[in-house]
Amino acid sequence: MSNIAGKAYAMNVITPIRSYLTWVNKLIFWAAVKVPGVLTGLVTLSLIHYARWVIIPKDKFPHLDPSQPKENLNYNYMLFFSNFNGSWDQYVDSFTFAIPGGLDLFWKWNIRYSKSVALTPFHDYIRYNQLETIHYYNAYPLAASNDVKSAKTVKSSLIQFEKDTQTVSDEEFLKLYNGLLRGLQHDLGDMYPTPIVTMSAYQVERRQKWHEGKLAEAGENHGK
């Protein structure tokens, strides 16, 4: 089980929703995409890589084989998948603080939704309905969502700077270089692994150390 891959956390939440009210939810989601500014609150949560909501109608679970029993459900189900940076509490709380109204709109029609304020019932609701990830892959475990965004700025600035300084004098070069650093001061910074990148990476490292006979040196030979 691994909800964590480097700096990203995988959250999966499944909640029942009354089938005769699902269209309202879909309308709200549709409006959120179409009406400018509705997702502004979500954009301010810069800790998110990617997130999505999926509604599965009660009679639309895949039925691929006659031997497969058909589902007989009372409710439709809403799945929420998110990839975010930081801890579970930070994420859930930042949702509550940044977009409590939007959050309530998205989940409003779900059975027993507690509302995003107060925090404790909301925590309980999410925790109760959360599913654990078994395998989680992240293409850049060392990078947060903000790193990916700032790296894009660094890359384009660097390419532009190199182009602009091909034929300038040394004095002009220094002026532009200082300007480059000033412009990128919010985008630069080393990235390093978190203490445990993933439980799997941790186990792999341990196994490698074991084979190299270094566990004893590191004082990690418990159970040896």
């Binding site: 999966n12 998110i48 691929l64 009372n74 998205f106 892959y137 293409a139 850049y140 890359k155």
Partner: protein, 240 residues
């Protein structure tokens, strides 16, 4: 399926029903799928690192849905509790009903770069071509997967299990993965350069910068760059 797409990023959601059967060792197929996915965690890196353009993805097994069974706490519930003549049958019809799934489902949720043409087929084809052994390892226990032995059949199968996202939010960016990895590599290297080249005279700084640009080759996406899924700082950089 436009709502699966945001710019050049794609949100793929797959639910594949797992057969209600047991292995010779009397382990349910759902638990076997779970064990196999778990075993991927012990490999040096995820098999998904080999699938081009994968940003982030996850696998888990959905055994059942959650039933919201807490007793009512609304004003109506409280009122009904106070009225002893209200029959239990009426009282219960306000409460959430209990749902259970008849099959377990293998859930695969993936975010990848799909390009301007929203190329899902291309992504799934690459997935099959790079990790078909791993795919069979887990999807082999699912209904309808028998007979899937090439990329075209795999694409057809996955589309039968696909769900449309009602809202897909991209908080990062939707550049091709190699662009993102190169940019991260440059950010890392230029941060080090900026720190280690402070206070130099302009001629030296300029010469060092020239050497730096030649070494990091900003426009070359192939190398040097970060490897997809790399988590060890000493093995992160892929050189040409």
């Amino acid at each position: 399926m436009a709502s699966n797409i945001s710019g050049n990023a794609y949100a793929l959601t797959i639910l594949s029903p797992i057969k209600n059967s047991f292995t010779d060792d009397e382990v349910s197929y759902a638990d076997t799928v779970r064990d196999r996915l778990q075993s991927w965690n012990s490999e040096p890196n995820s098999p998904m690192a080999l699938v081009p353009q994968t940003y982030l993805c996850r696998y888990f097994v959905l055994d059942d849905v959650y039933t919201e069974s807490l007793p009512g706490a609304s004003a109506i519930d409280t009122l009904i509790d106070l009225l002893p003549f209200v029959p239990d049958s009426l009282r219960r019809c306000y409460w959430p009903k209990e749902d259970h799934l008849n099959s377990s489902y293998l859930v695969f949720s993936c975010n990848f770069h799909c390009g301007p043409n929203a190329d899902l087929d291309g992504y799934l084809r690459n997935m099959w071509n790079t990790i078909s052994d791993k795919i069979k390892e887990v999807w082999g226990f699912c209904h309808g997967f028998d007979g899937v032995d090439n990329a075209d059949k795999f694409i057809d199968y996955m589309k039968k299990c696909q769900f449309e996202a009602t809202l897909f939010f991209v908080g990062s960016n939707d550049d091709p993965l190699e662009e993102q990895l190169k940019a991260l590599y440059l950010k890392q290297e230029f941060s080090k350069f900026a720190v280690s080249n402070q206070g130099l005279d302009t001629a030296t700084l300029r010469a060092n910068f020239k050497g730096f640009i030649q070494r990091v080759a900003p426009a070359n996406l192939t190398a040097p760059t970060w490897t997809a899924g790399g988590y060890r700082i000493d093995k992160l950089v892929k050189r040409g």
